[in-house]
């Protein structure tokens, strides 16, 4: 039974459709990320699960029970807000104990639970401080403790690391991930940071314009994006347009500005008819570069000129221009001193491995 199940959930604000017919089942104990650009409806969806917003249509069930009509304060979920929303008139300990106090938990039980959770997120020494006296990272931990102390079935996190600097964010990502593994609580994590989503999640739901574009394991979202949007939102991606020539036996051939290109098609559902338009996607790190101006005889190889290169230390990004005018990006690991450097203006052979070319749905 899924921890949270959304069926045909819709929410519109006046003319704007914030959440558009979302079907989604989140498994018990998983770290699920809702990823998308700002304004894509991911926070609205989270608020609907929390009970802080009502869907115009559709149902929300939590732990198998229909929760659509249950108000926020009686749902077995807790939220870590983007702004932390700590009560300024209460100290850290009182903030953490708030949920238990509201549920009239006896004092003998409250104290050890508050103590334990404050130890868990490492804020034990902050007890008597007011939120105004805390740093961003500390506030974040208090907000987390305040939600976790209630032992929710699902923890909702709305861009909890968004306001922190990069270094702290990386640290807390690791901690949050470990915490989730340890507690086994279902986490639903809203973020617009694709690296964060990839690093932490078991599964990712990519949202755009209120729709769930793709939902699946983190590697899948990156390795096998299904739409143009997912391909470009999760990391950089080269797109190549073409017209289908042949399509059989898990292989597709298409005519593109690079000439004839062949791609592997792992899913038979993607079969196309000859003559149809199609789009290939390929990650820059999967693009192969070889010295030499001779066009190799093998498939998917084409000559290109290096127009620019950016050295990142561990890797180098090359901007390439193919004969037909198409521009491609390639990222090459700087593996050792032996690799002779390529320079701007040089002509190289670009190889696009058939198993690295992804055929997009749109």
């Amino acid at each position: 039974m899924p921890a949270v199940e959304l069926t045909n959930v819709c929410r519109r604000f006046h003319e704007v459709v914030a959440v558009d017919q979302i079907h989604l089942a989140i498994r018990r104990g998983e770290f699920f990320s809702l990823l998308g650009p700002s304004g894509c409806g991911k926070t609205t969806l989270l608020r609907i699960i929390a009970g802080l917003d009502r869907p115009d249509a559709g149902t929300v069930s939590i732990d198998g029970k229909d929760a659509t009509e249950i108000p926020a304060h009686r749902r077995p979920v807790n939220t870590v807000f983007q702004s932390y929303a700590l009560f300024p008139h209460l100290n850290v300990r009182e903030n953490v104990a708030f949920g238990l106090r509201m549920k009239k938990t006896p004092r003998t039980e409250t104290e050890p639970r508050v103590h334990r959770v404050m130890e868990l997120v490492r804020i034990s020494e902050l007890g008597p401080r007011r939120p105004a006296q805390l740093s961003g990272g500390q506030k974040q931990r208090v907000a987390l403790a305040r939600a976790l102390v209630n032992e929710p079935q699902v923890l909702l996190l709305d861009e909890p690391l968004g306001a922190l600097d990069l270094k702290l964010r990386k640290e807390l990502q690791v901690e949050l991930h470990a915490l989730q593994r340890r507690l086994g609580i279902t986490f639903i994590y809203v973020t617009h940071d694709q690296e964060e989503a990839l690093a932490m999640s078991d599964r990712i739901g990519v949202m755009n314009n209120g729709k769930l574009e793709q939902c699946g394991p983190a590697e899948n979202a990156y390795e096998r994006p299904r739409t143009r949007f997912v391909a470009q939102f999760l990391g950089a991606c080269n797109l190549i347009e073409g017209i289908v020539r042949r399509c059989a036996e898990g292989r597709m051939g298409a005519e593109t500005s690079l000439g004839e290109i062949q791609a592997e098609m792992p899913s038979p559902a993607q079969t196309r008819k000859p003559g149809e338009r199609c789009t290939f996607a390929i990650r820059p790190e999967r693009v192969g570069l070889m010295k030499g101006s001779e066009k190799a005889s093998e498939i998917n190889a084409v000559a290109a000129r290096i127009t620019d290169l950016i050295y990142f230390g561990a890797e180098t990004e090359y901007q390439l221009e193919v004969a037909g005018g198409l521009r491609l990006n390639a990222r090459v690991m700087n593996a050792g001193a032996t690799s002779s450097p390529l320079s701007v203006g040089e002509t190289v052979v670009v190889r696009l491995p058939p198993n690295a070319l992804i055929v997009l749905d749109d």
Binding site: A72, S83, A85, F98
Partner: protein, 302 residues
């Protein structure tokens, strides 16, 4: 200490001194001449006693304060303590009623969309365009015998047939609340407008019921407006005497009347000064208590 740098100018100490005198001087002079000195005189006079024809004379005495506390020529009679208490009660009652009326109104206005919001704020302030006395006389007519409000009150069984709402306590409080409401609504509105609703949602998310949501999610945030509004209503309402006089049937003496009585027809400046000093002290005490209770920050909104 680093030297003070005045951007774009090099000026001598001499110049600076003149600048201070030129900018702050007139205001300070005004306050000293027309506020501090008269106040000191009032305090001094309150320790003298009344001479013939309204003059005052020595020696220094505490007689005026004894009389104010209720120890007169005829033994203990708490006439003035009662007046003080009555005035404080009027101020407090008005403040509480204004708060009850203003709180929902402030939320209502804050949630309106932009053009309606401005309109509502103008409507709140509009009563000030009419003179207080005229408004008070209008209430006399509205609440007098035979008015439709009185008839409605009779019909509803609030008052017996033949009676009317004016003169009486109902009329006084009605008029007081109407007069002082804007002083409560505006600061409260300023607080509600800035309300961080995520705290309300956090409280809801953590299982708080409606009352607890208000207590922890809203109240701490609107306390500055709450404190400012209470001061703005309580202070003038305590000293108010025209409205109780005109609508209360001229039977009840308030601090204001008592004061005016002594300085005017009573020709007893020393005793009047004592009343002024005591009421000033009470107000100061009330303010200090409020500041202590709610933290200094809350009064910045004033």
């Amino acid at each position: 200490m680093p030297p003070e740098v005045h951007r774009g100018e090099l000026i001598s100490l001499h110049h600076r001194a003149w600048r201070v005198v030129g900018s702050a001087g007139p205001g300070v002079l005004w306050l000293v001449l027309f506020f501090a000195l008269p106040l000191l005189m009032i305090v001094a006079i309150s320790f003298l006693s009344r001479g013939e024809y309204g003059t005052f004379q020595g020696p220094l005495t505490l007689e005026n304060y004894r009389r104010l506390a209720g120890f007169g020529l005829l033994g203990f009679e708490p006439l003035y303590p009662i007046i003080v208490l009555r005035s404080l009660a009027l101020g407090l009652g008005t403040a509480v009623l204004c708060l009850l009326a203003a709180l929902p109104l402030a939320f209502f206005i804050a949630r309106l969309s932009r053009p309606f919001k401005n309109l509502a704020l103008i409507l709140v302030v509009i009563p000030f365009w009419t003179n207080l006395l005229i408004r008070t006389y209008a209430w006399q007519m509205l609440l007098g015998p035979g008015s439709w409000i009185t008839q409605a009150a009779v019909w509803l069984g609030v008052i017996a047939p033949g009676e009317s709402l004016y003169p009486g306590a109902v009329a006084v409080y009605l008029c007081m609340v109407c007069d002082f409401l804007p002083f409560m609504v505006l600061p409260l509105y300023a607080s509600v407008e800035k309300l961080d609703w995520s705290l309300v949602e956090a409280a809801m998310d953590l299982g708080a019921n409606r009352f607890e949501v208000f207590r922890h999610g809203i109240l701490p945030q609107i306390r500055p407006g709450f404190a400012a509004g209470s001061v703005l209503v309580f202070l003038p309402a305590t000293g108010q005497f025209v409205i109780p006089d005109l609508l209360g049937g001229a039977k009840t003496v308030m601090l204001g009347n008592a004061l005016q009585q002594q300085f005017g027809p009573g020709l007893d400046w020393p005793f009047g000064s004592a009343i002024a000093v005591v009421s000033l002290a009470l107000v100061m005490i009330a303010l200090i208590v409020l500041v202590r209770k709610s933290g200094e920050k809350d009064l910045e909104i004033l």
